[in-house]
């Protein structure tokens, strides 16, 4: 039964004073939450006229359900996913943090890295027990000024996750974060704060899964990452929510002098997903790479934004975003590279390739550049189109039937991105991609 209503769900753009999350945490934190709440309540929806919101209706990211109702959750898993449990067993990962949309997060297998001085706990606990470092970093990159939906998370995030790697420490194996959205009408506000110390090293795999196939779960996630000078960070954002989830994600990282960061956004899931990744190159010699893969099927709408902001000289950035669409999926990609006036001798590159596997798909892309001084090397490019028929013809003439040929070509297309992933994750993603190509 359809009602005279322009929005797909009941929406509210007001956070009541009685919302439970507002009372969580120290006095400092409660103040921040209240501040964010009033900003959220007082600000209008972003205008459709700006490029960032041209292709996605912002009203999708409002929600009437501002708390997590734990009584009605039937957990989809009692423990970690079996493959993750196996990875923990065989020591392939240095720890597993599970956030079941529950009150408590669980942390497993981190004994080895604890000895190195690494801290992995809930963000709530960090604010309480490691207040100095938490207060110095939390809300510094994403706060109520960032935007309306970020303000929503800033007020209502629940437990959150905190990861701290001390100066000089190398965490050998990837740390795995598993966030599960509950099925049913729920809203989740995951939050992550990562601080990688000077000359430290960390690989983080951040997976967002779960939700149901009914169109009523909403997840609004915020990620803040600090890479101190000479640090090396690799951050994989794996978004594979079930088809009923609306997902909003904002990520901001800041890297200092000679630090490097590799960010790998993988967007596969959700009904409508809007992800916004940004890295500020904040110290001389810093380098940032963003290698992203977006794969839409069915009627998904996947909207992604990347930002590389050069504020320091001699910095280098590179974006490679690949989009594959089939059925009637649609993609929007907006990106900005901005080099400030006093950021001299910088280099910035960006490539966006869109592969359309069926009619009914639609790709919109606006890669933008704002360059405020002459001492730069900057280029970007975008392509949109189907698989080159000549490539398919070539493989068919060698006895490979069409759907297998398509799979091979798409595998080749995404191959260079997968190479950037930690070995153990590579196979997993390869399987996900292969599954999405079925019955083409």
């Amino acid at each position: 039964m359809n009602t005279d209503n322009k929005q797909t769900k009941d929406t509210a753009s007001f956070i009541p004073e009685t919302t439970p999350q507002l009372d969580l945490g120290s006095a400092w934190l409660r103040d921040k939450r209240q501040e964010s709440r009033s900003v959220f309540n007082g600000s209008p929806l972003p205008p459709r006229g700006i490029h960032l919101w041209r292709y996605t209706d912002p009203s999708i990211f409002l929600s009437k359900h501002l708390t997590q109702d734990n009584t009605s959750i039937t957990k989809s898993l009692d423990g970690p996913r079996s493959d993750l449990a196996a990875q923990l067993e065989s020591n392939n990962i240095s720890g597993l943090v599970t956030d079941h949309a529950d009150q408590e997060i669980t942390v497993q297998g981190i004994d080895a890295i604890i000895d190195q001085g690494v801290i992995v706990c809930s963000l709530a606990e960090a604010v309480e027990k490691h207040s100095e470092i938490a207060e110095r970093h939390l809300y510094q990159l994403i706060n109520s000024d960032t935007g309306k939906f970020e303000a929503m998370n800033c007020a209502l995030w629940n437990q959150g996750i905190f990861v701290y790697v001390p100066d000089g420490v190398t965490v050998e194996k990837p740390l795995y974060l598993y966030r599960e959205a509950p099925p049913g009408e729920q809203t989740q506000f995951p939050r992550l704060l990562v601080v990688v110390g000077e000359n430290a090293e960390l690989t983080l795999i951040d997976e967002y899964s779960g939700g149901g196939s009914e169109n009523n779960c909403y997840a609004n996630a915020v990620i803040e990452i600090f890479g101190k000078q000479y640090s090396r960070t690799r951050y994989v954002s794996l978004q594979q929510y079930h088809t009923g989830v609306s997902s909003y994600l904002t990520h901001r990282a800041q890297i200092n002098q000679s630090a490097t960061m590799l960010t790998i956004p993988l967007a596969f899931g959700g009904d409508t997903s809007k992800c916004n990744y940004g890295v500020t190159l904040n110290g001389q010699g810093a380098e940032s790479d963003i290698f992203g893969l977006v794969f839409g099927t069915g009627r998904q709408h996947l909207d992604n934004h990347t930002l590389h902001h050069h504020v320091a000289s001699e910095t280098l950035s590179n974006i490679d975003l690949k989009v594959v669409l089939r059925d009637k999926a649609t993609s929007a990609y907006t990106g900005l590279i901005r080099i400030e006036n006093d950021a001299k001798t910088c280099e910035a590159y960006q490539v966006n390739r869109n592969l359309l596997l069926s009619s009914g798909t639609k790709a919109d892309t606006i890669p933008e550049l704002e360059i405020l001084n002459e001492d730069v090397q900057c280029s970007h490019g975008a392509t949109i189109g189907p698989i080159d028929p000549m490539s398919v013809f070539y493989l068919k003439s060698r006895g490979i039937e069409e759907s297998a040929a398509t799979r091979m070509i798409v595998a080749g297309f995404v191959g260079s991105t997968l190479k950037m992933l930690p070995v153990d994750l590579r196979e997993n993603i390869r399987t996900i991609v292969a599954n999405r190509l079925e019955n083409l």
Binding site: M1, N2, D4, N5, K6, Q7, T8, R54, R299
Partner: protein, 103 residues
Amino acid sequence: MTGFTQIALVTDIPEGTMRSYQVERNRIVVCNLGGKFFALADECTHDAAPISDGKLEGGNLVCARHGAMFDVVSGAVTGPPAVIGIDKYEVKVEGNNILVRVD
């Protein structure tokens, strides 16, 4: 989803007026032209503005943003700056119910 979906009531749309509705992912504008009902995509092909924000005038839908015009019956473009027509939906009226076929 095949088949017809109930979208509006006849009594909600007086003659010479139009109203906007959402059916799954589709925004649809239903117009009453001389007692007959027509359903078209409520999105101007020029710059994606909601046509229902504009006017229904002389058998044409006129978009409020830049003045693009579309024929209510066929959806064909009748005035710049649009250059392509809007999709139309099959309409059935049963009693006081207006139904559209949305695929």
